[in-house]
């Protein structure tokens, strides 16, 4: 076998090769590398919010946004929680109706496409505000972010299906405990689901002319 290694790290003597770049080039690259390494920390230090993250973000925001480095990397953290879906009911132009949900294992294939739709429904959950502790989950008001995303999903569905009305529902699928599963509960037990309405939308809600006329009417 050529190039037989004498150690794990490197073949031969293990003595590292000398740098080829001139000291000036190395100095410039070193500064850039150091700046970049700090940039790698800004996103994770900012999610959730921290004083250092905020401080560094003032200088680094252009770079980390432009380079797509603005991530917290909190995969499956802080806790794996319930999953979320969006159910929709469409009234079609021909008088018919259509019901659906995203994500949908049957409709969204392959798995990566399913995950894209899954993230759409999960994202709307991530936009939740603190909410009103006096109200049950089903009656919590939508945050501004949830309102914007509900409108976005509604507009997409109305246009895609040429529908006259769409109603969106947010479905939360709670996790059963190990004890409940050992007691015979299935993961799709209906008691684990709860639903809350996101809104009802018509094409007029997205027509600037109609919206302006409606605003003017309300003002009068």
């Amino acid at each position: 076998m050529p190039n037989q290694p004498s150690s794990y790290f490197a073949p031969g003597s293990g003595t590292p090769a000398a740098p080829r770049w001139s000291p000036h080039v190395r100095a410039v690259v070193s500064v850039l590398v150091a700046l970049h390494v700090v940039a790698l920390l800004v996103g994770p230090l900012s999610v959730p919010d921290s004083i250092i993250g905020r401080f560094l973000g003032r200088f680094y925001r252009p770079y980390i946004e432009a380079a797509y480095l603005n991530h917290g990397y909190k995969f499956f953290g802080p806790d794996p929680g319930p999953s979320h879906m969006v159910r929709y009911e469409l009234e079609l132009a021909d008088g018919g109706s259509l019901k659906g949900v995203f994500p949908d294992r049957e409709e969204h294939r392959p798995r990566l496409l399913y995950h894209r739709h899954f993230m759409l429904s999960e994202f709307i959950m991530g936009l939740s505000s603190a909410g009103d502790p006096r109200l049950p989950w089903e009656k919590q008001p939508l945050s501004e972010g949830q309102r914007v995303y509900s409108r976005s999903y509604a507009q997409h569905l109305l246009e895609k299906h040429q529908a006259t009305r769409v109603t969106l529902y947010f479905v939360e699928h709670l996790l059963p405990s190990p004890e409940e599963v050992l007691g015979g509960m299935k993961l799709d037990d209906q008691r684990l689901y709860r639903t809350r309405k996101l809104g009802t939308y018509t094409p007029d809600d997205f027509d600037d002319t109609v919206a302006a006329a409606r605003d003017a009417e309300e003002r009068q």
């Binding site: 000398a18 432009a66 953290g77 929680g81 976005s152 997409h156 699928h173 190990p178």
Partner: protein, 349 residues
């Protein structure tokens, strides 16, 4: 006082020498080439899947409207540095043309054709896609773009590429040696460092949660029907096993950044990445995410091991020439190291 001054002086010299060794030692580009092939294939697959929902996600009436995208980027009332050429594509024809061009770029990168150019284009294409549809993204996209970013820096087409075959044809059939390269080392080091950052903060983020600390977080993944692709609910009878897997995951992620560097620990640390990420892939249906994390971990595999594992891919001649190149550099390195030790030359930062 002299003792402190001497210590600080020694510390500075050692730090500068170690910094130079870490970042600027020329390396065989074969690890980078392997990552180019794997990451290029993942980028190609990721974007091929976008084809199935191209107009749904990137068309005029996308799932994510312009207003929704601006809100997700948090740039509603501030200057935005988030960019995507998708905002310029006004017609279905333009969208499809750009999409096919993007797929061609990823295919060329995977094959190593005009790698220096296609690696830059691949990064621009990948970031354009993700910035257009915030809300439809997950960890896969972050790692895809990270790998694409660092592939721009090094000569990823210097080995196992069509570029190399074309160079061989120009040289009348003789394959030129894959020269050790400083920028290849720089790219690999940046990948390694970012993988450390990712794992560290993934571990740290889990400590915010009660279930990771308490030991039942893995149950939360197992009992989630929407993620599930393999029924593992039998783990309900094995709470201690769940707790061990949960805690090993957290501690492995937290200490990866320290334990992956000692040469004897590295194989052990990396071998734990395989069940962790394949577990995510197989049990939670996140095959692409599991695989792309493993591709990131490939950056820790030394070039000689890559060559040995894939000895059938490269010719013996290529191996020998590469070994000769490494040997020459090592000899020079030994001489320079000797000079540094005897104070004949000074290592500059």
């Amino acid at each position: 006082m002299n003792l402190v001054r001497g210590y600080l002086s020694e510390l500075r010299r050692a730090a500068v020498a170690e910094w130079n060794r870490f970042w600027f030692t020329p390396a065989d580009p074969v690890t980078l080439a392997l990552i180019r092939i794997l990451a290029g294939a993942m980028l190609l697959y990721t974007h091929l899947v976008w084809t199935l929902g191209l107009t749904d996600f990137f068309g005029d009436h996308s799932w994510v409207s312009a207003e929704a995208a601006a809100l997700a980027h948090g740039t509603g009332d501030a200057t935005s540095y988030v960019w995507s050429y998708h905002w310029l594509l006004r017609s279905p024809a333009a969208l499809w043309t750009a999409h096919i061009a993007g797929l061609v770029v990823f295919a060329m990168l995977t094959l190593g054709l005009f790698s220096r150019v296609t690696s830059v284009l691949a990064y621009l294409v990948a970031v354009s896609y993700v910035n257009r549809v915030p809300g439809a993204l997950f960890g896969l996209d972050q790692i895809n773009c990270m790998l694409a970013m660092y592939l721009m820096i090094g000569p990823s087409g210097a080995a196992w590429s069509l570029d190399r075959l074309l160079a061989a044809r120009k040289g009348r059939g003789r394959l030129p040696p894959a020269e050790p390269s400083t920028s290849a080392n720089l790219a690999i080091r940046l990948m390694q460092l970012q993988m450390c950052v990712i794992y560290f903060f993934a571990g740290l983020g889990k400590l915010h949660g009660e279930s990771w600390w308490g030991g039942d977080a893995i149950w939360g993944a197992v009992a989630n029907l929407e993620y599930q692709s393999l029924d593992m609910t039998w783990l309900a009878s094995w709470p201690l096993t769940v707790a061990v897997i949960t805690q090993v995951t957290v501690y492995w992620e937290l200490f990866f950044c320290a334990l992956v560097w000692p040469r004897l620990l590295r194989p052990l640390v990396l071998s734990l990445a395989i069940p962790l990420h394949l577990g995510i892939a197989v049990c939670m249906g996140m095959i692409t995410f599991g695989l792309v994390m493993l591709i990131g971990c490939v950056s820790f595999v030394p070039p000689w091991l890559v060559r040995r594992l894939f000895s059938g891919v490269s010719s013996a001649g290529e191996d020998e020439q590469s070994a000769k190149g490494n040997e020459g550099l090592r000899k020079r390195g030994s001489r320079d190291a000797g000079k540094v030790a005897s104070g004949k030359i000074r290592v500059e930062s």
